[in-house]
Symmetry: C2
Subunit: 336 residues, 2 copies
């Protein structure tokens, strides 16, 4: 098929998710999706001296798990595409250094998971590589320290804030079926002028809606064509807003739209409006959603990687928080 | 051709650099390459209140120039791929927001220019888009403030340090000839254990050499097949080191290896060992090198985007500085 419409590419090759590796921290391990994650940490330092190094451990473990499940070694991985929330995406830089593969660093904040999945599939589509590993990671204490305040300060947050997920999710792509990458819709930056860095879901929601609508228009589809539309980290405030925006554009039924940030914690876990972070979409999409497709619950799922493209500096200088969303449609072929 | 060897992809489509847009600051405007840059600023604030916003102005102006030369409007640009040195690549996020195109954020530090060029060509190869704009930017005062100390402190630097280039360089790719993207070699992270953040050239040199050697081996070529091998920002210390490493591997003649960081300033300009930064390769490659190819001076040029993958935090935590290098071979077909 190739390019369809303005923003969508339909893959001609069969590009499947062969294995995934998903590692999470304590609060995620206590949440409703724990059984879908491969490794649960109760030590938030993961045996490291700093939060930043703990985050690297998460990503390296997720890489190892994805390789081990496929009975592959580091030398068998030609390319890693990924990123994270740390300044200069150092978590991924160092994990890619340990891996030893070719490496393309990317950044779209919490939408990095899906940008990586889309670009990985593009690299396989052209035949540049026959196998790619891609993923994203975040650590709540590393993110708090960088974006807000060190956790030890005990600064209070508003109830509409989100908790950065501690976790890494990685997918190993190979020629194959299930679930396979059917199409990718590349997002535009959408800036609604919102400026509250605690309310990232609302800053991301218009971008999520723009990309979902573009995806459906490009392919001539409706939400009914998907068993699930899974946004990355709108959390409860942003998801409600996104559904209102979709319904305002006549795009229904929005019950099919769910959000990783809403799903990953129970409401009584004290995670405010829900999860956020590059690791949020990574662990829920590669842990839970891929599993649900393999179990036959969903035949086609639209993964929507939402990102808030601010920095602590841009917020302090009074800038708005632009949002972006890249989408990838996964499909299970046949009646497997 | 498709994939050749382990790390290289040879493009089947004709993907050419149609126009470029290059904007620089004061010291670059006083340097030996000034006449190859489209716009020279003498106000380091570019009319903005902060260095970070000045950096955005540089990038937006470079985008505008590349579009204007091609008589295109923002609406004609389907996709921008790029990044910068700021935390969370906010410069590029905001410029991409103004542009309004689809946007893929990337990061490989000072190697971002060439990662962007390679990925842009991959997106065109598969037919996902028929036109891409790609580029990179840095601003010396924004970078000093973020990576080292605010310039106003007057902290002294060792003579082997480098000066971050103030400048943005953008290329507009379309189906066409000159110069066209012939091949891309995707780099691996190379960590030599160096830890001095002032000596980025030495941290990058082994990565540059690894990618140059991989490129030549994959294609069965020698340095003689290139009129010029242009590294991004090794500067004088790193370039000398890289040439020693190449000669140690029997890869000669290394007179053909030049470096954007060495070329952009005269030795008497007080820029230490030379230029660095994502803008360094962007302005020299898209300003000077593309011009020299069009003038017929070089038929084939290997652009080597070198990056040091550290952050201020990783350096303070005692980590080494891993390097990476992505390479793109440009060629002028025929005797145009």
């Amino acid at each position: 098929m190739g390019r369809v419409g303005h923003q969508t590419y339909v893959f001609e090759r069969q590009i499947g998710i062969r294995t995934t590796g998903v590692v999470v921290g304590q609060k995620e391990a206590e949440g409703p999706l724990a059984k879908y994650f491969d490794r649960l940490h109760d030590d938030m330092r993961m045996g490291q001296k700093t939060w930043e190094k703990a985050e690297r451990t998460l990503l390296k473990e997720a890489m190892d798990l994805a390789m081990r499940k496929a009975q592959l070694e580091k030398e068998d991985i030609p390319l890693y595409i990924g990123g994270d929330l740390m300044d200069q995406i150092t978590t991924t830089n160092f994990a890619a250094s340990s891996l030893g593969s070719m490496y393309l660093g990317i950044y779209s904040a919490c939408g990095t998971t899906v940008e990586g999945l889309a670009l990985s599939a593009m690299m396989m589509e052209s035949g540049a590589v026959d196998r790619v590993m891609t993923g994203a990671v975040s650590h709540t204490y590393a993110a708090e320290k960088l974006y807000r305040f060190p956790n030890e300060y005990g600064v209070q947050k508003p109830p509409y804030a989100q908790r950065t997920v501690t976790g890494a999710g990685v997918a190993l792509l190979e020629p194959g079926t299930g679930p396979r990458v059917e199409a990718a819709t590349f997002g535009r930056v959408v800036d609604s002028g919102l400026k509250d860095p605690f309310d990232m879901g609302s800053a991301e929601a218009p971008a999520a809606v723009a990309t979902i609508v573009a995806h459906l228009q490009d392919l001539g589809r409706s939400l009914d064509d998907y068993g699930l539309i899974l946004t990355g980290d709108l959390a409860r405030v942003g998801l409600t807003f996104a559904k209102q925006l979709l319904e305002g554009q006549g795009v229904t039924p929005t019950e099919r739209v769910e959000d990783c940030g809403v799903m990953i914690y129970r409401e009584d876990q004290g995670a405010f409006a829900g999860g956020s972070g590059a690791g949020c979409s990574a662990v829920v999409m590669y842990g839970w959603a891929v599993n649900q497709m393999r179990q036959g619950r969903y035949r086609r799922v639209l993964l929507c990687g939402t990102g808030a493209l601010h920095s602590p500096t841009s917020v302090k200088q009074g800038d708005s928080i632009p949002g972006i969303c890249h989408a990838v449609s996964l499909v299970m072929d046949g009646d497997r």
